[in-house]
């Protein structure tokens, strides 16, 4: 292997890891704040992909500036998925406030399937190709040509994580989220509107999922109505690996899954063995530390 290939693979790892990290992060938000395992989240990601596809196809025919289009379609996708996430919260979760946890899981799986089949009915089963949301210039890194979009995927993902961290550590809403995450009842006694904070976590999840979808579409372009299924699956594994509900854990888990997905196919004879490796890592981590790498015993999750 020469240095050129190694650099390419490191960039591929950072790209895939960043996307998994964002996906896991978007999935873990709701759990961290509200202790809800939101399996409908994959469908939110799927909706994002379709909104990004249709909106960008429409706008690229009319607007010349690609970055402008990217920002606009990202905002549109974020708004649409936030509204769906809020709808989901009030239709699939709020009515089950006092129901057993398993009912909520079943409800979220069902809601996710309903959204996925709605996508299938509206947009068809044909695979689509996402327009190039991020302009693809080639730049040279130490003499090695690197497609700019890969770097931008990594940069945008990391920027999103940094912004999220600033919001959670430094803003009033972030403080409220941490309080609700640690003790919802006590947060109410402090005057925090806990219902609104939980809703906010659904919106955060949807917006981060939209950013992740825009990066996924940029990196891998081809997708179909069931794109969310694989994503939610790997997000869940990454989040559990890092410690479900923990933001830093989701990021770590995302990059570990990304690393396995890149390294395993190089070392193993069959590329799909990477899934087995990922599961093996997950099982070993959970055996050694049942709360996941960064998870604590049901306290501070975000």
């Amino acid at each position: 292997m020469n240095i050129n290939i190694i650099i390419q693979q490191v960039i591929n790892f950072l790209q895939l890891g960043s996307i998994y990290a964002l996906c896991a992060l978007s999935f873990t938000m709701v759990y961290g704040v509200a202790r809800l395992v939101n399996f409908a989240h994959g469908s939110i990601f799927g909706v994002s992909m379709y909104v990004l596809f249709f909106a960008s196809t429409f706008l690229f025919e009319r607007i010349k500036s690609p970055w402008f289009v990217y920002v606009i379609v990202l905002i549109i996708a974020s708004v649409v998925t936030s509204l769906i996430a809020l709808l989901l919260e009030s239709a699939a979760y709020k009515p089950l406030k006092n129901a057993p946890k398993i009912a909520v899981v079943v409800s979220s799986v069902g809601a996710g399937m309903a959204i996925q089949y709605l996508i299938l009915n509206l947009a068809g089963s044909k695979a689509l190709r996402m327009p190039a949301l991020i302009p693809n210039l080639r730049i040279e890194l130490a003499g090695i040509p690197v497609p700019l979009y890969k770097i931008m995927v990594i940069v945008i993902a990391i920027l999103t994580m940094v912004i999220l961290n600033v919001i959670i550590k430094g803003t009033r809403l972030g403080v409220a989220m941490r309080a609700v995450s640690q003790d919802r009842i006590a947060a109410g006694f402090m005057g925090i509107d806990t219902g609104r904070v939980v809703s906010a976590s659904f919106v955060f999840g949807a917006v981060i999922a939209s950013v992740a979808a825009s990066l996924y579409g940029t990196a891998y372009s081809i997708f179909a109505y069931d794109v969310g299924e694989g994503i939610i699956w790997w997000s869940f594994i990454a989040a559990v690996l890092g410690g479900i509900g923990s933001i830093s854990g989701a990021v770590l888990g995302g990059y570990i899954i990304g690393a396995i997905s890149i390294i395993a196919p190089i070392l193993l004879p069959v590329s799909s063995y990477k899934d087995i490796v990922a599961f093996a890592v997950l099982i070993i981590v959970l055996l050694v530390k049942p709360t996941g790498l960064m998870g604590k015993k049901d306290i501070e999750k975000i």
Binding site: V175, R178, D183, I185, G188, F189, I192, D193, I299, E300
Partner: protein
Amino acid sequence: MNNSKRSGEPILKVDNLQVSYGKIAAVRGISFEVYRGEIVALLGANGAGKTTTLNALTGVIPIKDGTITFNGKRIRNLATNKITEMGMVHVPEGRHIFPDLTVGENLRIAAYLYEGKDRNLFLERRESVFALFPTLKERINQQGGTLSGGEQQMLAIGRALITGCEMLLLDEPSMGLAPMLVKEILSTVEKIAKNGQTILLVEQNAMMAMDIATYSYVLETGKIVYEGTSDSIKSQDKIVKVYLG
């Protein structure tokens, strides 16, 4: 101790409060009043319905029937945060401090409703909390979860005071504490009342609670079976023996 304050408009008036868990009636139509500046004790054995009553007052659990009037306003089934905003704050059984936040952060969250507008008010209130509980100042950078039981109780009370409430609901502040510490906490509660807070104090530790409360209600299986000034209750051996032993 006298009961001269028990007249006029009560700050809290509870009328025929009923709360059920499914089919089980935990609070079965109780009525009581708390007047401004008083310490009122709600006494009773384990399972009598004391915690349920406080949870119903602050919207933690839904109410089946009855009216609750705080400061002249009906608050039945308002959300917990709204009740805090109105000035009645619950210090729950088991303290419920934020375990992974430091003492300082726990106190700061209590200023959630106003800190953005008036940071000095927060600092002022925090100083008065430190005056009551100097230990909290020493431990300001320590994580809440690492405090001892007594310190956690101080933090929980201090946090409630920083919200700027008019009335505190204290659920078994003495639970799990050594007798010396119980005395200390209860005498601080008395001090807090002298500073102008109104206090509804829930205790199993009846004799100690009546030492600081002016008026007491005795709860048994969801009903008020006796009420009176603490002195009058203490003088009745039968009540003390049957309900408060």
